[in-house]
């Protein structure tokens, strides 16, 4: 049986209750919306891109504990990174939550995001964990339309 505590780690619960960078970003020059029509989760991700690097990032919206904590920790992880670094991290995170991570090789690069490894035991929750990341991806690409995890 998958352990609930593996999914709902303390760090995740804490971030879902008090999300970081949870505000509209006045200096944002990129923005995207992510929507999961099935559960009603809805996030906006704001980016302040300076050239190729993410000078600042924030988010707002509504979602479950997993999606909110993921958005919160994502903003912490990618702040200061380049587009390519952020996209690479998304790739690693995606592998982690879908259970495709090769051993512990990239856990170090994922840093705190490794707490989401429990999601791989709950396939229906993968879309919750990745909603903010898909939204970030759209914001980086400068897409205007709402992205969906469906």
């Amino acid at each position: 049986m998958a352990d609930l505590r593996e999914l709902y780690q303390e760090v995740i619960l804490e971030h879902s209750k008090t999300p970081r960078n949870y505000r509209e970003l006045a200096t944002a020059n990129h923005r995207a919306e992510g929507y999961n029509p099935l559960c009603g989760d809805h996030f906006s991700v704001y980016l302040d891109l300076e050239g190729d690097s993410i000078r600042d990032i924030s988010f707002q919206g509504w979602g479950c504990a997993i999606s909110k904590a993921s958005a919160s920790m994502m903003t912490q992880s990618v702040k200061g990174k380049t587009r390519a670094e952020a996209e690479k991290l998304f790739g690693q995170f995606h592998k982690l939550v879908t259970g495709h991570s090769p051993a512990n090789a990239n856990q170090a690069e994922l840093g705190k995001l490794a707490v989401f490894s429990g999601v791989s035991e709950f396939p229906v929750r993968v879309k919750c964990a990745t909603l903010a990341w898909h939204t970030l991806h759209a914001a980086l690409a400068g897409k205007e339309e709402t992205v969906s995890t469906e």
């Binding site: 049986m1 998958a2 609930l4 999914l7 709902y8 619960l13 099935l38 559960c39 009603g40 989760d41 809805h42 509504w62 979602g63 479950c64 504990a65 997993i66 709950f122 229906v124 929750r125 919750c128």
Partner: protein
């Protein structure tokens, strides 16, 4: 309180007699449903997602198996033994549905894929013929998407307007507003009998009376009503009544459109094809009589037979007794769940059936659903295909427990314990 003490206190309730008595023995009935015997995540399965779909009794599974093993043939056209036998079974199921709904004639029972297809059929045939630019279609604010979108498609095509009668904070139809929206432009009213998201039982008889005073026909979406209430289409005097078999212990992919023959006769066909014709030449096709005019192509024969078996199963137990059991269970669950700190019930109408929608503090329903699932408890979380209902209450989603004839008080207790576990995790 210990488990034993809890059980004793439950047994001391006088209304518990029904659960254990000869009238309705829920434990015996549970044995009719093979799926309920299994364990999920190492726990006893507690299936509380019946408004999404109900489980199937052995007699329904057997009826379908027997059809494929013994009777399978195409119907209405073969002179051979199997075809005649399959036709008899299929038409027998139609008569079973007719008597279940108390329709005046078996030809008023059209087999379709489900409630959704039935509503689309009416919108695309009756609707396209009778709704014109500037006309109105009246629905309510508690409809399932299946009783909204087909009318929107029609209204868009015709330049007509979709009017929506509002509901109260408890989830009841605001009858005066409904009445005020009935006008000379209203060409059809479509209303749910029981709300899938809120559990509200609508006063459909009054709705129909009111509409008929202005000669407006009424379609009733009975998808959530047929499993829980006795439905008599003649007593209701509804013009159309639709439901899906899978929500009333039958198979998926089959459902029913009931229509008054005077209306069905005047409607153009929905789909063209085999079986819906009397004669075909390249110059002209004469359509078949009712109900075949609306059953183009080889129908879901096994499904119809399975539905017939499900209706007979319900008849054997008795709808009044089922309704009584479910009513008590819902009252018990409402009291028990309301007592949990942080619970907010969505849908508190005086007349309800089968559904308990709730929120817990600010915990997202999906998190509730995942934690309950680990306890073996299946509930639905999300907008329940009724996004306008969620918007009405200013919420994106709810957690919904929904009941069927085989659910027990012990399962409600398991739900309550599961919700306590959610509170623990989110402490």
């Amino acid at each position: 309180m210990t488990t034993v003490a809890k059980r004793l206190s439950r047994e001391s309730r006088p209304d518990d007699v029904r659960d254990a008595g000869a009238e309705f023995d829920v434990q015996r009935v549970r044995r009719d449903f093979p799926i309920l015997r299994q364990r999920v995540h190492g726990r006893k399965l507690v299936y509380l997602d019946n408004a999404a779909t109900s489980q199937k009794p052995q007699v329904v599974i057997e009826a379908i198996r027997r059809y494929y093993e013994r009777d399978n043939a195409n119907i209405h056209r073969g002179v051979h033994f199997l075809s005649q036998h399959a036709t008899q079974e299929y038409e027998g199921a139609r008569r079973t549905v007719q008597s279940f709904l108390n329709a005046a004639d078996a030809s008023e029972i059209i087999f379709v894929r489900g409630a959704t297809e039935a509503i689309n059929l009416v919108a695309q045939t009756y609707g396209r013929t009778n709704v014109h630019a500037g006309d109105e279609v009246l629905i309510t604010a508690m409809e399932h998407h299946s009783n909204i979108v087909p009318w929107q498609i029609l209204c868009e095509e015709k330049g007509a307007r979709l009017q929506v009668a509002p509901i109260s904070d408890t989830g009841e139809l605001l009858f005066e507003d409904f009445e005020n929206l009935l006008g000379s432009r209203t060409k059809i009213v479509a209303v749910t009998h029981v709300s899938n998201a809120l559990g509200t039982i609508n006063p459909v008889r009054r709705v129909i009376e009111m509409a008929h005073l202005r000669n407006i026909p009424v379609l009733v979406d009975g998808a959530q009503a047929v499993p829980h209430l006795k439905v008599d289409v003649q007593a209701l005097d509804c013009d159309f009544y639709v439901f899906s078999a899978h929500k009333v212990y039958g198979p998926t992919g089959i459902g029913v459109l009931y229509g008054k023959s005077v209306l069905l006769d005047a409607m153009p066909p929905y789909q063209g094809g085999g079986d819906m014709i009397s004669s075909v030449t390249f110059e002209k096709t004469i359509y078949n009589k009712l109900p075949y005019k609306f059953e183009a192509g080889t129908p879901h024969v096994a499904g119809a037979i399975g539905l017939g078996a499900a209706m007979e199963y319900v008849n054997t137990l008795g709808m009044d007794i089922i309704a009584g059991h479910e009513h008590e269970l819902l009252a018990y669950a409402t009291e028990a769940v309301s007592a949990i700190p942080g619970i907010r019930l969505i849908g508190t109408a005086r007349e309800k059936a089968g559904v308990l929608s709730f929120l817990l503090d600010s915990i997202h329903p999906h998190d509730i659903g995942t934690i309950l699932d680990q306890e073996g408890i299946a509930i639905r979380t999300g907008h329940h295909c009724a996004q306008p209902v969620m918007q009405r209450f200013g919420i994106p989603a709810t957690a919904r427990a929904s009941f069927a004839l085989y659910n027990t008080r012990e399962e409600v207790d398991a739900l309550v314990e599961g919700i306590e576990k959610v509170r623990e995790v989110f402490g």
